[in-house]
């Protein structure tokens, strides 16, 4: 992914428990699919 490309997701969040759940899940997705996380 080039540096000028926008990230595919915007997450509106704070460090709340529910905010963390989404952050953690995104991290897990990236750990599996890398930057190639792609819409299907």
């Amino acid at each position: 992914m080039s540096t000028v490309t926008k990230a595919p997701f915007i997450l509106y969040t704070e460090g709340t428990p529910n905010g963390k759940k989404v952050s953690v899940y995104l991290e897990e997705l990236k750990s599996i699919y890398g930057d190639k996380v792609a819409y299907e």
Partner: protein, 169 residues
């Protein structure tokens, strides 16, 4: 990886796939009209916007609110190999169990740390005032002592007497 890493809203190395917009809930930014109109009519966080799906709603992409809905949305569209979730057609039992635990986790007041929270809840909220007031007898709780204890959580949320709770004992 330390769990403390997640004290931050998002780990740094995920920034290549997600832009984080910090919504200061202390200043009620999530209740502002732009947020309610384009992201979440309920005025809550978190909200995920998927730029891969342009919309005409004013957001930069398809907006998803509610934590469980976000997790399932990400799974449906971004985990085609079912590494992190289950295939509803091929693994219906596992899929159902997954939903059960997702709903439990997002509805439970202690959220992410549900297992730790449960323990903490009973040790600090229920047991502690009971020890102080010697209100636990015959493995049942004296709700009068519980609810009248000034340090007690229940006193704040259910300050009135609860006769049916005592009756049940």
């Amino acid at each position: 990886m330390s769990l403390n890493k997640f004290a931050e809203p998002i780990p740094g190395n995920v920034t290549s796939i997600v832009s984080v917009e910090h919504i200061s809930i202390r200043t009620n930014k999530q209740k502002e009209s732009w947020y309610i109109n384009t992201l979440n009519p309920n005025g809550r966080i978190p909200v995920l916007v998927d730029r891969n799906r342009p919309t005409t709603t004013g957001a930069e992409g398809f907006a998803v609110f509610e934590t469980a809905a976000i997790l399932l949305y990400l799974s449906q569209h971004y985990d085609p190999e079912h590494k992190l979730w289950f295939d509803v057609a091929k693994q219906p039992g596992d899929y159902s169990e997954m939903l059960q635990w997702i709903f439990f986790a997002v509805r439970f007041p202690f959220s992410l740390r549900a297992d730790i929270g449960l323990t903490t809840f009973f040790s600090t909220v229920v047991s502690a005032p009971c020890k102080a007031n010697v209100c636990k007898t015959n493995n049942s709780y004296d709700w009068q002592s519980l609810t009248s204890s000034p340090a007690n959580h229940f006193n704040k949320f259910a300050p009135e007497d609860i006769p049916y709770a005592k009756k049940r004992q």
